[in-house]
């Protein structure tokens, strides 16, 4: 069974330029998949289709066998947790605790259950010490960790992460990588940080100008210098050292 599928999906914004063209792919329930590509390749657009923030012009997207369309939106959304590229769009409550609690509260949990979920999620994401801090006073990296916690508190089947390592210092970046590896859910990670993809994903998908260029295992794709350079990327840094 596949957790996420794209079946011949095409998409364009209102202005008419095609952004995604005939995308087909699927992600299994325990898989970690990296979405790589240069700026403007269409990574964010593709991710936004999974919780139905954008709906396909052609083709079909499914999440845990639920077709993502207007009718099934709220069902499909419960299955995926989306961490935005920009934490300022993700967080909107006054304190970290309330922000992380927003999702579980909306899903009707009692206040004890909410507290349990919030504390566990913040602990998992290494931001428990920020619990009572005002979002407005947080650094970029702190906001990123809290954003991740807001999503984890909803216990999704699948995590969608858009540039998760941006704004993190080396230590927090390493923590994030080990955190991601320890989470027992499927992951789809969009990033230019190929080293992070190397450490977290068993399978990268390279896209360029809205088309899938390559889809395979990490070692093969991330070591293919010509392929990466032809599509605006570079070898992971670790490969330069040798």
């Amino acid at each position: 069974m596949n957790l996420l599928t794209f079946d011949h999906v095409s998409f364009q914004y209102e202005n008419g330029l095609p952004i995604l063209q005939d995308i087909s792919l699927s992600v299994g329930p325990d898989e970690s998949v990296g979405l790589i590509g240069a700026n403007g390749a269409g990574k964010t657009t593709l991710m936004k289709m999974l919780p139905g923030l954008l709906l396909p012009n052609e083709g079909q997207v499914t999440v845990a066998d639920i077709v993502v369309n207007k009718k099934n939106l709220s069902q499909a959304r419960r299955k995926v947790g989306y961490v935005f590229q920009d934490s300022d769009s993700q967080l909107f409550m006054a304190t970290a605790y309330d922000d992380v609690a927003f999702g579980p509260r909306n899903y009707g949990h009692t206040e004890e259950e909410v507290a349990e979920r919030v504390l566990t999620a913040m602990e998992q994401c290494g931001c428990l010490h920020l619990k009572d801090k005002q979002i407005y006073k947080m650094s970029g990296g702190e906001k990123k960790l809290v954003s991740l916690a807001t999503v984890m508190a909803m216990r999704p089947r699948c995590l969608l992460l858009d540039e998760p390592s941006v704004a993190l210092d080396p230590r927090n970046r390493r923590n994030l990588i080990s955190l991601l590896n320890s989470l027992p859910v499927a992951k789809l990670i969009a990033s230019h940080d190929l080293d992070m993809i190397w450490d977290t994903c068993g399978r990268p998908i390279l896209i360029d100008q809205g088309k899938i260029i390559a889809d395979g295992d990490t070692k093969t794709i991330l070591q293919d210098k010509e392929l990466l350079e032809a599509h605006g990327l570079e070898l992971p840094l670790r490969l330069f050292k040798e």
């Binding site: 919780p51 923030l53 709220s74 959304r77 419960r78 947790g81 989306y82 935005f84 920009d86 300022d88 769009s89 993700q90 967080l91 909107f92 006054a94 304190t95 309330d98 927003f102 999702g103 509260r105 909306n106 899903y107 009707g108 206040e111 005002q134 407005y136 807001t150 909803m154």
Partner: protein, 270 residues
């Protein structure tokens, strides 16, 4: 801290106040909302020359201030931009109203009296609203509005507008900072870039509020504020508080309390 950071700080502080766990914060949001509305209606309904009657309405903000454990001085400071506006509206009044009236044995220009009552009405209204939002989070107010069957879309709009003010201020902060860094030694912002600044600001904050709205939707927001209302039940204290104020406010509205009291004291000591 510049002016903008200061405003963001104060707005945030209001949020923090609202989230405290004080006696007043724990009162049912619907009670506080209804009382605030009722109070405002009564205040506005006073005749423009009924200064003494109106003055007695001061009891509500004064007592609620004490119950809320808010600092009066800091609150007035926080309202420093709004209160002068209210006063300016009142100040033009004497130009139009030239009648003479009798207040507590003194003959006064009607314009002066109605100016004072107008200003007081404004101040009382602002204070009442301030007291509501300083003791009640926006989610709870929205939840209470849903209990009153205000349509979802309007409630969501109120909630988003409130959040939008933050986003807008933060964008202003970012834009002015980046402008000032590139125009060192210049005071303020040159009027030539105002146009593009404002345009930029609108686009960016619209973008951002769309992001925030999406983030709310993805986390199960459906415009109902069920989680707020489920948590809140009217307890006995809420009923007592509500009924107490309803009675007091109605008494203050009907009887000239200040005249009665001063008559009483005159009688006692005279």
């Amino acid at each position: 801290m510049n002016d903008i950071s200061q405003s963001i700080f104060e707005l945030n502080h209001l949020d923090t106040l609202a989230e405290q766990n004080q006696w007043m914060n724990r009162r049912h949001p619907l009670v506080k909302l209804l009382l605030t509305l009722f109070y405002i209606i009564l205040v506005v309904s006073f005749h423009k020359y009924d200064l003494m009657g109106l003055l007695a309405m001061m009891a509500y903000p004064l007592i609620v201030f004490n119950l809320s454990e808010l600092s009066f001085r800091k609150s007035i400071y926080r309202l420093r931009y709004i209160l002068p506006l209210v006063c300016i509206i009142g100040l033009v009044n004497p130009l139009f109203d030239k009648e003479m009236v009798l207040v507590m044995g003194l003959v006064l220009r009607g314009g002066i009296i109605s100016m004072i009552t107008l200003i007081l009405k404004g101040i009382f209204t602002v204070l009442a609203v301030y007291l509501l939002i300083a003791t009640t989070t926006i989610e709870k107010i929205c939840g209470a509005l849903r209990l009153l069957h205000m349509p979802k879309i309007m409630v969501t709009q109120i909630m988003l507008t409130y959040r939008y003010i933050f986003l807008l201020l933060r964008e202003v902060e970012r834009l002015t900072t980046s402008y000032q860094l590139r125009a060192p030694g210049q005071k303020g912002i040159h009027f030539k870039v105002w146009g593009s600044m404002v345009g930029m600001l609108l686009l960016r904050s619209i973008d951002r509020s769309e992001g925030v709205y999406n983030s709310m939707l993805l986390r199960g927001y459906d415009g109902n504020f069920n989680y707020v209302n489920r948590k809140m039940a009217m307890v006995q204290t809420d009923w007592i508080y509500l009924i107490f104020w309803l009675i007091i406010l109605i008494l203050l509205r009907i009887f000239p309390v200040i005249q009665l009291l001063s008559g009483f004291f005159l009688h006692l000591f005279g």
